[in-house]
């Protein structure tokens, strides 16, 4: 169980004026898929960064299975089972796909192991193992490899920031299969895509006015379909 209590995150803008990115966020994530959705700039990615420890909240606390992990480092969270797939995958000059996956799973990988990680994201290991994780790979390829590194690492809490971005639509079903395999973990996905929202057990809606609503998928779909500004994405796709 991952609990956020009164999480706030405030930054100063260019003029030195304080700006709240997150304010008084109270959320609970249990096992299963939670999808966070909402407009750009509403603080979704910031929340993911705070959960992984990339940013420290300016107020509030984070409890994981009852333990306060608010001040815990990225490395320690990773070792505790927190796993992230970046929205913008990081590029490395010289580090190969194989090396990255080995760093992720903490052991040497043979061909079968490589295939297992990469086939889950629709890539053939043979074509990628010796390629560097750099600009020679397309955006979609980097995104899949990013997801593969999260799968290779494993863990108890998966933080996936727009995992579908840059991935072609026909591969969506495979992507959904990847999420479903993680059903016994805490999976938090930031997404705008209805097909990913449909996989959710819980939907968390962020709005620009810092209002956050969370509920079961069915309740939230009803809320989303009632119009108001929430209909911004689902309304379009229907």
């Amino acid at each position: 169980m991952l609990e956020l209590k009164q999480i706030g995150y405030t930054v100063k803008d260019e003029t030195g004026k304080k700006q709240d990115i997150l304010k008084g966020v109270n959320l609970t994530f249990g096992k299963g898929i939670s999808v966070i959705t909402g407009p750009n700039g509403s603080g979704k990615s910031t929340l993911i960064k705070i959960l992984m420890g990339f940013e420290k909240p300016t107020s509030g606390s984070i409890l994981f299975d009852g333990e306060d992990i608010t001040g815990m480092s990225v490395t320690d969270r990773a070792r505790k089972g927190f796993t992230i797939a970046f929205q913008q995958p990081v590029r490395f000059k010289g580090i190969t796909v194989k090396k990255l996956l080995e760093l992720a799973c903490g052991t040497k990988l043979d061909t079968d192991g490589m295939c297992e990680c990469l086939s889950a994201v629709g890539l053939c290991a043979r074509n990628y193992i010796d390629r560097p994780v750099d600009g020679t790979l397309s955006g979609g390829e980097l995104k899949r490899i990013e997801l593969a590194s999260a799968i290779a690492k494993g863990g108890e809490v998966f933080l996936l920031d727009e995992p579908e971005a840059g991935i072609d639509l026909w591969s969506f079903e495979d992507l959904v299969k990847v999420f479903r395999k993680l059903h016994d973990k805490i999976v938090i996905i930031v997404s705008h895509q209805q097909r990913i929202l449909e996989t959710a057990d819980q939907i968390v809606l962020f709005e620009n006015d810092k209002v956050i609503t969370a509920g079961r998928k069915e309740e939230m779909f009803e809320k989303l379909s009632q119009g108001r500004p929430l209909c911004w994405r689902i309304g379009q796709e229907n």
Binding site: F54, V74, T75, F82, V90, F92, G94, L103, A104
Partner: protein
């Protein structure tokens, strides 16, 4: 050959004892072992210290090892090695020098290498420099490499400085003929008070000549590195110079890439980027469970891979 020799040979040339095929092992200015055959002939120079390596035309798939070991201080080893690569030959030459200096006197190796590639010849030249030893004496390399490439020939140079080298000043000159190509992959790691200077001068003289120089360097501690390149396009040609450097601690990297399109048909590109490790790279690896130090090491190892 003692244990220190064996360790140095393994580090600089992946050798476990005496290699197969043609080789020349030089230690402290003297010949330690040599094998010369009819395909690749190795002969001592008569007018100065050094050897001529003559690869006969059409010889393919052969490798030549010419490592140099320096295990004493107060010694400057100046050697001239000339390589003559016959038409259509295709060989790998593994050079490199290892210094082990436990003394307070300086150990210096000056290797002057000249390559003459005939038409359609192909060479992969691997050179590693490495030094160790606890003495206060300096461990220095001053290599000069001259490369002359005739029509359709190809020369790939993989030069690596692995660490421990107090001072190095490397000069590389190349003249690239018609349809010929030069590829350079340079990797340098410096630490402490070490200093490394590399200087490339490439003349793209022939029509459709090509050159690609990629230098990757990591400077740690208080070390300094200088990268200079001067690529001159005198014909319809393509040249690319890339210098990527990672600086850590209070180290410094200076990159001065110069390109000169003498011919309006020349296409020359240079790229240079020097800076610390990107924060997001560290975060990504830390999010896989590595400590910051482990992440830094993994990034550097990959970068210099």
């Amino acid at each position: 050959m003692d244990k220190i020799d064996e360790e140095l040979l393994e580090t600089i040339a992946d050798l476990h004892g005496v290699p197969e095929g043609s080789f020349n092992i030089r230690k402290n200015g003297k010949l330690l072992a040599r094998n010369s055959d009819s395909d690749v002939e190795i002969v001592s120079k008569k007018d100065k210290d050094g050897i001529d390596i003559i690869v006969k035309p059409g010889v393919k798939g052969k490798s030549v090892h010419i490592p140099v070991l320096l295990t004493v201080g107060d010694f400057q080893d100046l050697v001239y090695n000339d390589f003559y690569i016959g038409e259509n030959a295709d060989v790998t030459i593994i050079a490199g020098c290892g210094i082990h200096n436990d003394t307070c006197g300086d150990a210096v190796h000056d290797g002057i290498h000249t390559f003459h590639l005939e038409k359609n010849a192909k060479v992969r030249y691997v050179e590693r420099h490495y030094a160790n030893g606890d003495g206060s004496g300096k461990k220095e390399f001053m290599p000069v490499t001259k490369i002359f490439l005739k029509e359709r020939s190809s020369f790939t140079m993989e030069s690596t400085q692995l660490g421990g080298v107090t001072y190095t000043d490397r000069k590389t000159f190349a003249t690239v003929g018609k349809d010929a190509q030069l590829i350079v992959k340079e990797k340098i790691l410096t630490d402490g008070d070490e200093r490394a200077i590399t200087d490339f001068k490439v003349n793209l003289r022939g029509k459709n000549s090509r050159a690609d120089i990629v230098s990757r360097s990591v400077a740690r501690g208080k070390s300094t590195q200088d990268f200079h390149s001067n690529m001159i396009g005198k014909n319809e040609c393509f040249g690319h110079v890339e210098c990527d450097g990672i600086v850590l601690d209070s180290a410094r990297i200076i990159s001065v890439p110069k390109i000169d399109a003498v011919s309006p048909e020349a296409s020359l590109v240079h790229e240079a980027a020097v800076g610390k490790i990107a924060g997001e790279q560290l975060l990504k690896l830390m999010s896989l469970g590595l400590t910051e130090q482990e992440a830094e090491d993994a990034i550097i190892k990959g970068f210099l891979h």
